[in-house]
Symmetry: C4
C-alpha cells in the first residue's frame, strides 16, 4: 500500500471508501500521510481562524425545508461554461498531489472523471499535463495558473496545458506570497516530489523547495493586464480565483474574466479574512446585476451536502472542495476521490428532495434563513 | 422487566417515573434500550446541528415574569379542533414504539389518555389501530400518515384508522426520504419489530427493514392534491406536519389543511434547518393574518415547561414532544409516558403562575423578550 | 466554629474575610455549610440559565473609562428614601440565615450596619424582629414580606416589624410559588432552623418544612389591592420586589409603590427570565419619564464592583446582593457580611476614579457601551 | 544567563528569538521570569475580561483580501510627528523592565532602535534617561509620564527626559489608581528593582513598593490644566494615553494634546472596559472630522500582523505592543525585543501584499468587514 520516492512514502491505495462523512477522512489520513505532508494540508495561516471559520460560518445560514412541493427524483446534472457535469461539486487546485498518493494528479483526474466532476489542476502538479491527458482523455478539466515572473515559463504552461486538453484556466490571485503557515515552519515542509512543469523547465526546481521558495519565483504584482496576456496566448476561458468582495469581482469581470472563484485559499493566506460563505451573497448580487454575467464558484470549508446546498442557494454555480478530496486520494486513490464527491452528492440529493429542488438551478431560488449567532458546538 | 421479540429485548416496565427533569431520561434510557434502538432515537441528521439547536434556540427568547397580577390557580385545560384536552402538551408521532416497550403504542396511548393529552400515532406503529382502540376507547388521537406510492395502501390506512377511532390525520411532508442519519449507518439499524399496517398488507414488510428501505416505498412527490385525496377518502381534519416557513403554512391552508405542525422532524431530516422556535413567530403571524385561521402545533427540542410556555407565547396552540415520551415509555410504560407529560405540566404551571397566565389562552398574550445571543452553556 | 441546632451544624465563625474576590466565597462556603443548605443557596430554577445569565449578561455592557476628568477621592455615600447610607450596595432578603450561621439575621444586620448598608430581612427569618432591634438599634433596615393567605398573620408581621424599627417593606411579587429548583429536590431540603414569625404564630411551622410547603401557605394572587392594604396597616414605604418589565414598574407605581426592585429572584423562579441587567435600561427609562419618580434597586448576579457600577449607570439607585453575603455570613459572621460589602466598595471606588465619577449620582451619567455579543469565557 | 539583584533573579539573555508566533513567548517567559514578576505582566484587572477581550475582539473585524492590484514589494516605513520610523509597530510603556532582563530599558531601547521602532519609556523605568541616551543616542523615543502629586518631581522628570533626548511625552490618564489586579494580591508583588527617577529623588522609593503604594504618590485628579503645565515646562509633543471614547479624544485635542493613545491600559484598570479595537472606529471618525487632526495610536491585545493591519485600517497611525516585547526582553534582551517587532513586521507584510497595500498609508483605506459574532475558539 506504500511506495517510496527517494525515501518519501507515498500511498498506493486504490479502493472505494466506506465513509460515514468527510470529517472522518481528516482523521484517517493522518495514518497514511507523513506528518509534514499531512500538516501541509491540514492547516491554515496564523491562528487558523479563517480556516476554521470557513466551515463554521455555514451555520449562520439555515436551509428552510419546503412542504407540498409535489417533486421527486432530483437531479445533479449541471452545465458550466458549456461543459456537461454530473455534479455541482468540483475539485479545486491543490499543489503536489504526490504527497497523498503515488499516482498523484492522474488518480485525481480519474476520480473526478468517474464522478463527472470538473477538475482544476495546479501549476505545481507532480504529473505532467500529457500524463493526465493520456489517463483521462477529454474529461472536463481546467489548469490553475500560478503566474511566474518569467513569461516564457507562463507561455509554456498555458500552451502545453491547452494542447493537452485543459480547456480553461483558474488564475490564482489570492496567493501572491505564502500566507504565514505555522505548520510548515514547525515541520520544515518542502515539496518532496518533483513538480512536473518546474522539473521540465528548470531541471529539478520544485522538489525540495519550501513553499516560500516556490512563491519567490512567482509574480506578486498580478493585475488586469495579466488576464489579457493569458488570453492572447490562448483564447480559452480564464477564471479569477481568490475574490472576496464585490468590487474585485467586478474588476475581474471588467478585465475579461470568464468567471470567478470566491475563495480565501482555504484560510491559508490572510488569517482574519471573511468566511467565503459570508461574502458570497454580496458578490453574487453584484455579479448578477451586471450585463456580463459570469459564473461563480465558491470554495472554503465545504464538508457537507448542506454546505454545497447553501453555497448554491446563496449564489454559487459550482462548489469546490480541496482538502477532503486529497484525503480521499490518500486513502483510496482515484476511487477515493470519486467516493468523496459521491458522498457530497448523496447528502445533497436528500436536501434537494426535502426542499423541493428538482435541479441545481432550482437550488438557486431556495429559501435560506440567516440567524447571525454562532452556535458552534 | 424485559421480554424478547425474536431476540430483540423489549422493556416491560410499568411504573411512575420519579424524575427530576426530562434530560435525565435520555441518560437512563441508555440502560434499557439496545444500542441501535437507542441511537435511532437519540440522534439527528448530518452534524446534528438542527437537532441540538432546536433545544438551544429556546434560549433566544426570554419569559418576562409579571407582577401584581392578582391571579392564582392556573389551568391547563385547552381545546383543539373540538377535542377537550387536559394539557397543551401532545405526543407527536414516532415510528415503532416497540423499540422502547413491548406494549408499544398501546402503552403510549394509555399514558396519553391518562394525562388527557392528544396522541398522534405513526403509520409505522407496531400495534394495530384496532389494538389501540380496544385499549383506550375514545381517547383523543390522530393518525400520522407516511403516504405510500400505493394509494390502495393509503386508503386502507386512512379507512381503518378512522374506523378505529382516530379522528384526524397528521400528514408528514418533511420526511419524503430519510435524512442523512449517521447513527443508523453506524449501528446498521433496521426495524426490529413488525410494523402493524405493513405486515397486514405485505406479509412481513417493515420488520428487518432499514429506514431507507421503508422510505423507498413511500411517496416523495407529496403535493396539494394529496391533501384533497385524503379528504375524499375520509372527511376528517388533516394537519400538515413539517412546515418551517410562512409561505408553506399558507400553501397548506390553501389546500384545505386544518392545521399545521411547525417541525423539522426533530432535526432528523435537513441538518441546517432552522430551529422550530426561531421560525414560529413569522409563521404564526402569517397564519393569524389569514381569514381561515387554523391551529398551530410546534415540536422540536421541547424539554422544559419553560419551552412549552415560550412556544405557546410565540404562536403555538399545542406543543408536541417526541423523544422524551419514548424514553418514558422505555422506563415506565404507560405510566412513564404519563409521567413525562405531567413533569412538563408541573413546570409549566409554575411559569403560568409567575407570569399571571390563568389559562393556556392567556399564555398567547404573554410578554416575551428576544435577546439574540446564544449563551449556550 | 460550629454549633448544632437539633443536629443541624451551624457556623459560629466571626472574623474579617481576606478574600481576593467574591467568587472565592462560593467555593469556600461548601466546606462550612451542610450540602442541602449549600445547594439551597447555590442553585437556580430548571436549567439554571437565568441564574448564570444574571452574572454573564453584565458582559453585554462595557464601562467606558474617562480621561482628564480632574477628579479625585470619589465617595460612596448615598441616600435612599431619606436614609443615609455609606454604600449603594444593599443586603437583599434571603430566608433562613441560620443555615449559614448560628447568629443568623442578627449577624447579617450587624454586618450591614457596620458597612452602612441597607438590610432587608426576610419574613422567613430565623431571628425575631425584636432580637434584631436589640442587636442593631436604629440601623437602616426594611422587612421583606411574603404575604400569607391569612391577613391576621400579615398584619402581625407588618405591625411587629414597624414597632421593631423596620422602616419600610419589600413586597415580594415574583415568588408566588416556588420555582422549579432541582437542587432542593435532589437533597430533600427542608428549613432546618425555626422561622421566627412562623414559630411564634403557629407553634413550630417553618422548621422542617420544604420550600414548597412554605409557599403553600403564602398568597398567590397578589395584586394592587395588597399594596394598599399594607399601607393601611402601616404608613411606611412599600417597595415592590420582582419587576422585569416597564409595564409592571408603572403598574406598581400606580398602586402607590415607593420603589421597585428589578429582580428575577436570583434566577430561582422563572428559568428563562431575562437577566436583570438586560431589562434595567428599559425599566429605568419608563420610571424616569414618570412624574412620580421612585427609586430603583437591581439585584441578580452582582459579584463585582464593575457590576455595581454598570447597574447604577444603567438606572439603579441601589444594588442588592444575595448569595455572596450569605457565604460571607457562613465564613465570618457579621464581619464576614461587612467584608463582602467592603470588597465591592473597594472595587467600585477604583472604577469611579477611572471614570471620573465623584459621587454615586455621577455614576448615573457614566458612559456605557453595549456590544451585544457574549464573550463568556 | 541569570544575574541577581539583591536576590531577585534577572535574565541576562541576549539572542535572536526563533519564534513561530508571539503567543509562544508568553509560555516560554514563565521559565525565565520569577512567578510574581511573570504574573505582574501576564494578568489583568478583576475577571480579566477586558484583557482577554482586547485580543479576541480583533475577530469581530475581517480583512478583505484584494485581487488584481498589480502591486508588489510593500513597505513598512512611516512617519510619526516628524520621526522617520521603519515600522508602524511601537513599544508602549511598561514599568520596571528589570523584572524581565538585567539590562532593562537599555536593552528595550536598543531593540527598538535596531527595528526602527518608536520606544516610549515609563516614568517607572529602572534605567535612567541618561543611561538610555548613552546606549542609543538619538533613537526615536518618548517618555511616559505618571504625574506625581509633587510638581517639583514632575518638572525634574520632564526636564531631564528632554535633556536626555526624549522628544515627547505620553501622558497616562487611564491609570490614576491601580486597577484591581488579583494576581498582584496573590503573589504580594512589589517592585524588586530600583526605579531610577524615584531612587534619585527620594532615596530608594520605588524598590520594594507595591503597585498600590506607587500609585498613592501619583496624581489622581489629572485634567486639562496638566497638559498645559507640561507644555510650559517643555515645548514638545504631549500624547494623551488612555482614551476609549470620542468625547475624550476631542477633549484631549482641545487641551492641546498632540496625539492620543486608544488604550485601556492592557485591561489592567477597568475590567469591563471595551476592547480598544471595538472603540477605535468611532474615535478615529471624530478625530478625523476635526480641523486639528492629531495622530492616533492603538494598543491592547496586539499579537499578530493581522491585528496591526486591522488597527491601521480602522484608524490608527501606530500600533503599540506591551507584554510581548517584555517577554522578548526576558528571552533575548535587545535582540529579543527586535525579534518581536520583526515577527509582527513579517506577518504584516504578507497581509499588505495580499490586500494590495503598498504603504502603511494604503492600509488606512483597506476594506474591512464587520461580522459581529464572536467565533472565539
Amino acid at each position: 500500500m506504500t511506495t517510496y520516492y527517494k525515501g518519501f512514502p507515498q500511498s498506493t491505495r486504490e479502493e472505494k471508501l466506506h465513509m460515514v462523512n468527510l470529517d472522518e477522512l481528516e482523521h484517517e489520513a493522518k495514518y497514511v500521510m507523513p506528518e509534514a505532508a499531512y500538516y501541509y494540508v491540514a492547516s491554515g495561516a496564523e491562528n487558523e481562524w479563517t480556516w476554521r471559520n470557513n466551515t463554521q460560518a455555514f451555520n449562520h445560514f439555515q436551509i428552510v425545508p419546503r412542504a407540498l412541493t409535489g417533486m421527486q427524483n432530483p437531479e445533479l446534472n449541471t452545465e458550466f461554461l458549456g461543459m456537461k457535469l454530473k455534479t455541482p461539486v468540483m475539485i479545486c487546485p491543490i499543489a503536489c498531489h504526490g504527497i497523498a498518493n503515488a499516482e498523484a494528479e492522474i488518480d485525481t483526474a480519474k476520480g473526478a472523471k468517474a464522478a463527472g466532476a470538473l477538475f482544476a489542476m495546479s501549476t505545481y502538479a507532480n504529473k505532467s499535463v500529457q500524463e493526465v491527458q493520456s489517463a483521462v482523455g477529454d474529461s472536463p478539466r481546467f489548469m490553475q495558473l500560478y503566474l511566474s515572473k518569467n513569461w516564457d515559463f507562463n507561455k509554456m504552461v498555458i500552451e502545453e496545458s491547452v494542447k493537452a486538453g485543459f480547456t480553461g484556466f483558474f488564475l490564482t490571485v489570492d496567493a501572491l506570497v505564502s500566507g504565514y503557515r505555522e505548520a510548515n515552519l514547525r515541520t520544515n515542509f518542502t515539496y518532496p516530489v518533483p513538480l512536473a512543469f518546474f522539473n521540465e523547465w528548470n531541471g529539478g526546481k520544485g522538489e525540495g523547495q519550501s513553499v516560500a521558495q516556490m512563491y519567490a519565483s512567482s509574480a506578486q504584482n498580478i493585475g488586469p493586464d495579466d488576464i489579457r496576456k493569458i488570453k492572447e496566448i490562448a483564447d480559452v476561458p480564464v477564471i479569477v480565483k481568490g475574490v472576496e468582495c464585490a468590487e474585485d469581482a467586478m474588476l475581474a469581470i471588467g478585465t475579461g474574466a470568464d468567471g470567478i472563484v470566491v475563495s480565501n485559499h482555504g484560510g491559508r493566506e490572510v488569517d482574519g479574512a471573511p468566511a467565503t460563505i459570508d461574502v458570497l451573497p454580496e458578490i453574487a448580487k453584484a455579479v448578477r446585476s451586471c450585463d456580463h454575467r459570469v459564473p461563480i464558484i465558491l470554495d472554503g470549508g465545504v464538508r457537507r451536502g448542506s454546505h454545497v446546498f447553501k453555497a448554491l442557494a446563496l449564489g454559487a454555480d459550482l462548489v469546490g472542495i480541496g482538502r477532503p478530496f486529497l484525503y480521499g486520494l490518500a486513502l483510496g486513490g482515484a476511487q477515493g476521490v470519486q467516493s468523496v464527491i459521491e458522498q457530497l452528492n448523496k447528502e445533497l440529493l436528500i436536501d434537494m428532495q426535502l426542499t423541493g429542488c428538482k435541479t441545481i438551478e432550482d437550488i438557486k431560488h431556495a429559501k435560506i434563513d440567516h440567524i447571525n449567532y454562532s452556535a458552534d458546538w
